[in-house]
Every structure is written in C-alpha cells, then in structure tokens.
C-alpha cells in the first residue's frame, strides 16, 4: 500500500476522536431528550454514509454492465459490504435511541421500516455474491444491484402511504435544528465518511489480492497437473 494510506488513517483517527469529543462535550444538551439525543451524532452520519455507499454500489454496477471492467465490480462489492455494516449500525442505534424516547425498542415507523427493507435488499445482494459460481457473479450481482436501486423509491413511497394511514410517533419532523448541533453532526459525518473510505480502500486491496491469489491457484493447477502425471 502506498504512503497515502497511513496518512489518511492517522487523519481519520484524529477526526473521529475530535468528532467524539464534539458529540459528547461541545454539543448542547437537548432539552426534552437529554443526553440520549447525542446518539444522533452516530446514528445519522452512519445512515448518510450507508446511503452514499449504496449509491456508489448502484453507479459501479451500471458502469460494470457497460464496460465489464473488474475494478468497478470490486467497487460495487466493497461499497455494498461496507454499506451493510453502516446500515446495521443505523438499525442497532435506532432502537437504542427509541427505547428511552418512545418507550419501545421498535416501531414500524416509516424511516426504521424502510431502512430495514433496504438492509434486507443489500443482504440478499451479498448472499447472491457468495452463492454464485465465480465467473458469472459480477454480471448477476450488477443486475441485482440495479433492481435493488430501482426498488428504493418504491420502498419509500409504499411505506410512506402505509404510515400516513396509521399515524405513529414520527421523529421530530420539521422544526429547525440548533446550528451548533448541525455543526457537530457534520463533523461526525465527515469523520465517518473518512473512516468508510478507509475501510473501503483496505477491503478493495484485499479483494484485489484475493483475486490474484485465486488466479495463481488456477494457474498452478494448470501447470502442475502434467508434471504430476509424468
């Protein structure tokens, strides 16, 4: 790996600790929810990062279908995998926030439900990648990624219609956010985006290496078989 990687690593670590300090100490305490509101500084940036990664996955899959280059296939795989990790965090921290504020762990609220469905779609994408035989995986996965992305607006609209018929507690919709809180939120988002970039980078290198090793294995079995039969 080249020099940029450790530099980015140190920068990200610094940024994350600064963002943590901001979230726990500098950000003003919310009046009604108290300290619990600070979960937002991890929850919301993770959600944004996950959505960005899923968008990257969609774009990379489209590029792969047109150009058939392995690099965009790896980008699609990596962004989906890391996106699922961030999406899992959203789904775990959401209920931890909901419990003290709403008094229940889970509610079939619009955003929770649609995030869960999104998570399910990308899990099925990763499962497909695991279960298909190596040669066809990229094409099949790219196709599924496009279907998944097409599905996203439908998920949102259907759950929105569904929820407007059954009113439920909604996250403090509308209302202006304190500029200091917004500031902390954005810093945390920046920190987590850098962190995501860092993970994606290492995952990308790992996948490249893995493919090289697989190729070497295939080559070896080709060259070895005549020698052993001799």
């Amino acid at each position: 790996m080249n020099k940029a990687f450790p530099i980015l690593g140190i920068l990200t670590a610094l940024l994350l600790s600064y963002a943590l300090y901001q979230a726990l100490d500098v950000a003003p305490t919310e009046q009604t929810m108290g300290d619990v509101q600070r979960i937002f500084y991890y929850h919301v940036p993770s959600a944004w990062t996950a959505f960005i990664l899923f968008t990257v996955n969609f774009v990379a899959s489209l590029v792969y279908l047109f150009r058939r280059n392995p690099a965009s296939d790896i980008v699609a795989l990596v962004s989906a995998e890391v996106g699922v990790v961030f999406c899992t965090i959203v789904l775990v921290t959401g209920p931890i926030w909901a419990r003290p504020v709403w008094g229940i762990w889970w509610t079939w609220d619009m955003r929770l439900t649609s995030t869960l469905v999104l998570w399910l779609i990308y899990i099925s994408y990763l499962v497909l990648r695991r279960f298909s035989s190596s040669g066809e995986t990229p094409i099949l996965a790219a196709t599924l990624a496009i279907f998944g992305a097409l599905c996203v607006p439908f998920v949102y609209f259907s759950i929105w219609f569904f929820r407007t018929q059954h009113p439920q507690p909604v996250i403090g919709g509308g209302g202006s956010i304190d500029p200091r809180m917004l500031h902390v939120l954005l810093i945390n988002w920046l920190a987590f985006s850098c962190f995501a970039l860092l993970i994606c980078w290492s995952r990308y290198r790992l996948e490249e290496l893995q493919r090289e090793v697989e190729q070497a294995h295939a080559l070896e079995s080709l060259t070895q078989s005549p020698r052993s039969s001799r």
Partner: protein, 42 residues
C-alpha cells in the same frame, strides 16, 4: 452519562471492530495462501 448513550456508541464501535477483525482474518488467510503458493513454485 446516560446508559443508552454509552450502549449506542459502544455498539457502533463493536460492529466496526468486528467487521475490521473479519477483514484481518481474511487477510491473514490470504497471506498464508500466498506463502504456500511461493513454496510450491520453488
């Protein structure tokens, strides 16, 4: 500090570290593979 807050932040990092650990495991397995390949070639 609030227990829920600590739980949420801890959960976030546990998930991240678990994923990173799985990457490390895959990497060490690959390294092992590469060494075996090298030995096979010589």
């Amino acid at each position: 500090m609030n227990g829920y807050l600590i739980a949420a932040y801890a959960a976030t990092w546990i998930i991240h570290i678990a994923y990173l650990a799985s990457l490390m495991r895959r990497y060490s397995r690959l390294k092992h593979d590469i060494e075996e390949l090298k030995r096979a070639q010589t």
